[in-house]
């Protein structure tokens, strides 16, 4: 088996399974440990406050929108692109159709996917510059804050290069963009459970727990 077949075969399996199982483990770990260490969550458990807070924060209906009218919308758009493009890009769906699962669903137009990718990369660049330029954010930033931003942006950047042949004239990069793109995506998937990127699932537990804590005092956050 050559490297290419390894990356598009076994490594892809490893990446997707690491992502799914790892994320589920992190969630399970939170639930099982918190039962012993954070009893307050269960003593005052309330779906009402959990749904209210998740609704307000998954949709831009929260306090941050008015307080940070620039940053907050950008953060929402960033996350929307991050989720939509990889799942509904036509090229990816074709691969799912050709796979053993033969799964298929309707894609978003390629033009839209292009724009969403560019917008995503522009916002990622903005986040990076903000970290570097703002003395406030620079002070609180740690290595992993920069790291996850780069890891998340790489698959989008290489995906754009791949679909547009931007770097095709550069020998090595031009010849291997497909494999670089796959590797960058797999790297991100594998790292999700082990880094701050796990916030994609722990967000729900963290917000939910705090919503209960505030809710028991009558404040729906």
């Amino acid at each position: 088996m050559d490297f290419y077949s390894f990356v598009e075969g076994p490594l892809l399996w490893i990446a997707i399974l690491t992502f799914i199982i790892g994320s589920l483990l992190r969630a399970t770990l939170f639930l099982s440990v918190s039962r012993k260490t954070d009893k307050i969550i269960y003593q005052h458990f309330s779906w009402k406050y959990i749904f209210a807070t998740l609704g307000r924060w998954l949709l831009p209906l929260n306090k941050d929108v008015a307080k940070n009218p620039v940053f907050t919308p950008l953060a929402y758009i960033f996350h929307i692109c991050l989720i939509i493009v990889p799942i509904w890009f036509s090229g990816h769906i074709t691969l799912w159709e050709e796979s053993r699962f033969e799964w298929s669903w309707s894609p978003i137009p390629d033009g839209l996917a292009d724009w969403m990718t560019l917008i995503f990369l522009a916002i990622a660049l903005f986040f990076l510059l903000r970290r570097i330029i703002s003395s406030d954010i620079r002070l609180i930033s740690t290595f992993s804050d920069y790291f996850i931003l780069v890891i998340t942006a790489l698959p989008f950047m290489t995906g754009y290069f791949l679909t547009h042949g931007t770097l095709d004239s550069i020998g090595f990069l031009g010849d291997n963009m497909t494999i670089i793109h796959m590797l960058s995506g797999e790297l991100m998937l594998i790292l999700i459970p082990f880094t701050k990127l796990s916030h994609f699932i722990l967000f729900f537990f963290s917000r939910g727990a705090t919503a209960i804590e505030f809710g028991r005092r009558g404040y729906s956050m």
């Binding site: 918190s34 002070l139 609180i140 996850i148 967000f203 537990f205 963290s206």
Partner: protein, 265 residues
């Protein structure tokens, strides 16, 4: 006599400051208290900085980046990473931050996309420092008073009852027939005060007595420990004493078979 006690307290504090920090003590304190939420918060905070200008310490200090709430809890991460290997100097830095740069108002939590409760983590660090003998002198003194007298101002039972009786006499001049019932079993409301009231502001007790009298409420004050509703032990993370204070109040309420406990302020 008071001065002597003060000097002794200062000496003890200085002694504590010189004492070397035992890394095992730090880890043994933190590890069992690092629950699922604390661990999750420290591991997912992406340092987005949205908490910065929700903090009044940040805005009031001319936007000093060191006042950003998510930055203040870095000590917790550091102490765990260093396995407790920190010195007194370091703990002093933690002390300055957790006591003078955060008053645990929780406003940052209301704006945090992940709902990270910075105040709870600050509270944990205050508790850690308390276990190392570090807390503001006033709080340490108050904690001693709670343990001995059940109230933060070291008011004895005799002084407390005398003060109430004096308040009753003074107020009865104005409102004939006014009574301040002590230990009245089966009253509807048990009223509790800040221990500063019998000590410095008895007029507050008189005002409240007038309101209860005119409103025709069935109320009482307990004579035993539990009448002070302040809980300063909570602020230095002394949860044992903090619990004792609350339990005193509940005990009194049960003994007097009241339906409600009202607190001052």
């Amino acid at each position: 006599m008071n001065e002597e006690a003060n000097e002794k307290a200062i000496e003890e504090t200085e002694h504590e400051e010189m004492k070397e920090v035992d890394p095992k003590e730090i880890v043994d304190f933190l590890k069992p208290r690092m629950g699922a939420r604390f661990k999750t918060w420290l591991s997912i905070c992406t340092h987005c900085g949205l908490c910065a200008d929700t903090c009044h310490h940040y805005t009031a200090s001319g936007k000093d980046p060191k006042m950003i709430p998510s930055y203040k809890v870095r000590f917790l991460t550091e102490m765990l990473r260093k396995k407790g290997k920190v010195d007194r100097e370091y703990l002093k830095k933690v002390y300055d931050t957790v006591y003078y740069e955060c008053n645990m108002c929780r406003r940052c939590t209301m704006y945090c996309p992940f709902g990270i409760d910075i105040a709870l983590m600050i509270s944990l660090m205050r508790a850690l420092l308390f276990s190392q003998g570090m807390a503001p002198e006033g709080l340490l003194k108050a904690v001693e008073n709670y343990k001995e007298f059940g109230n933060q101002m070291a008011v004895t039972k005799e002084d407390w009852i005398e003060t109430i009786e004096w308040c009753e006499e003074e107020t009865a001049d104005e409102l004939v027939g006014l009574k301040i019932p002590i230990d009245k079993k089966g009253a509807k409301i048990m009223y509790t005060v800040n221990a500063r009231e019998p000590m410095f502001y008895p007029q507050d007790i008189m005002e409240v007595a007038k309101i209860f009298h005119v409103a025709g409420e069935d109320w009482t004050l307990p004579s035993e420990m539990g009448w002070d509703d302040t809980n300063l032990a909570m602020f230095c993370g002394d949860l044992k004493t903090s619990r004792m204070i609350v339990e005193n109040t509940f005990k009194r309420a049960e003994e007097l078979e009241v339906q409600q406990v009202a607190i001052t302020e």
